[in-house]
């Protein structure tokens, strides 16, 4: 984890929100807009510490709500809770497996809108929710699941291309190395 990685995460959150606001193609074709932030939180929670998870949730949530009619702050807690739970069990998760990333993306994308809706109805607003919302929820969940492995690939590529690769080290310790030949005469 370095500063560049951190900047990259915030930049990704920023661009994801911008993409959701500007690109209307998913809504035109499948009737629902994709939410990329929960799947991004999957990546962040499996790659970074809890402080970064909290910062990414706060930044992503505020950016999302600023372009939406949501009350500002609505999306912060759902994103954080998604990241918090994954971060809590990260030791048990095979983070490098695509299917694990996909399942986590599905779960995160399914949970975040429900949590946001619970907050919204408790702050005296009336979001448009009907039977079609079940279809939207399904689409958001599915697309979120697909997006999660893509975030891992994207960050893997970006970090590989833009940062120094870690220095490869031998598995043997130098002081335990077996020296062949005669002992030097002292």
């Amino acid at each position: 984890m370095n500063t560049f990685h951190l900047i990259l995460i915030f930049l990704a959150a920023f661009l994801a929100v911008f993409f959701q606001a500007v690109v209307d193609t998913p809504r035109a074709f499948v009737g629902a807009q994709v939410d990329l932030l929960p799947s991004l939180m999957v990546y962040v929670s499996l790659s970074c510490g809890l402080t970064v998870v909290a910062a990414a949730a706060a930044a992503g949530g505020l950016l999302h709500d600023s372009l939406s009619a949501n009350s500002l702050g609505t999306s912060i807690l759902p994103l954080f809770l998604v990241g918090f739970v994954i971060q809590r069990y990260r030791g048990l998760i095979l983070r490098d497996q695509t299917y694990a990333q996909f399942i986590l993306g599905l779960a995160a994308s399914a949970a975040a809108p429900v949590l946001a809706w619970i907050i919204l109805v408790n702050v005296d607003t009336n979001p448009l929710v009907g039977w079609q919302s079940a279809w939207q929820w399904f689409v958001m969940t599915l697309l979120g699941g697909v997006a999660a492995p893509l975030w891992f690939r994207l960050f893997g590529w970006a970090l590989g291309a833009l940062t120094y690769p870690p220095l490869s080290e031998t598995g043997f310790r130098h002081e335990r190395e077996i020296k062949r030949g005669r002992k030097p005469i002292r």
Partner: protein, 269 residues
């Protein structure tokens, strides 16, 4: 087992959410504007890219097609000029009669063309952002129209360079309307049967005796003070009697195609 740092972080995040959600409306609005301002360079860039693509597209249009379009526009212009002459005559007569009856002169419309730069990223609202703000004279509650003159919604929030428009069918955009032919009054509200369908809204509180039929035009009534009179909203699709026969309710197909809008007109005060 959660560690102490986990509890602290969880507590901080819950507190932060509660704090932001409970900020006073004015502070919240300024805060929202400040955060959304971060996207301004990107919106500008997207707009420029769109302009560039449009120009590139125009540059490769064949000359014959351009000439054909020019001829069509010229003919349309002549027709409109003839209609304008007739209308100017009617306007002069209208003003003369108003003067004779001591009626006040109607205020003219000032319109501002604005490009749609973003739509609500959440699925449960019907709002969009436009590239005209207070510097262009846009104010909160300014009516927003489509290119064909049909109603789109109203401005809800305004910043210096941008504004947010609440579309018809959003819970925050209720419009007093009347059925053009029968003059029955009602209110446009989100569709109860399909709230997420962008082309259908409900027309509530119609008189139970109103002779409704599919295809009747629905226009703004002008009551309420936000929307001027006689702006086309849509057409009645079907209706039913509700409230134990006390009043009628109709489904209205909106005239403006919200999903396909690229530019809108804002009526300036």
């Amino acid at each position: 087992m959660l560690r102490r740092s986990h509890y602290i972080t969880l507590g901080v995040m819950i507190l932060l959410t509660l704090l932001v959600l409970n900020l006073p409306d004015r502070v919240l609005s300024h805060f929202k504007v400040a955060v959304s301002g971060l996207f301004m360079p990107l919106f500008g860039l997207a707009g420029s890219a769109q302009d560039l693509a449009q120009k590139a597209g125009q540059a490769v249009l064949p000359r014959s097609q351009l000439l054909q379009q020019l001829e069509h526009q010229r003919r349309q212009n002549q027709e409109l000029q003839l209609r304008l002459i007739a209308l100017e005559d009617a306007e002069r007569e209208n003003l003369r009669l108003r003067k004779a009856l001591n009626w006040p002169k109607p205020a003219g419309w000032k319109l501002k063309l604005a490009r749609i730069i973003a739509r609500d990223p959440a699925n449960w609202w019907r709002t969009l952002s436009i590239d005209a703000g207070s510097r262009d004279g846009v104010r909160a509650d300014s009516p927003v129209l489509a290119g064909d003159g049909s109603l789109v919604g109203r401005v809800s929030e305004v910043t210096f360079t941008q504004a947010r428009v609440v579309l018809l069918g959003d819970p925050d955009c209720r419009v007093a309307v009347l059925v053009q032919e029968t003059r029955d009054n009602g209110i446009i509200a989100p569709s109860s049967s399909s709230p997420l369908d962008h082309s259908i809204v409900d027309l509530l509180y119609l008189s139970r005796n109103s002779p409704l039929r599919p295809g009747l035009k629905v226009v703004t009534s002008g009551t309420g003070g936000v929307f001027p009179r006689e702006i086309l909203v849509g057409q009645i699709v079907d209706w039913r009697t509700v409230g134990y026969g006390l009043y009628n309710e109709a489904r209205v197909s909106l005239a403006a195609r919200m999903n396909l809008l690229e530019e809108v007109w804002v009526k300036l005060p």
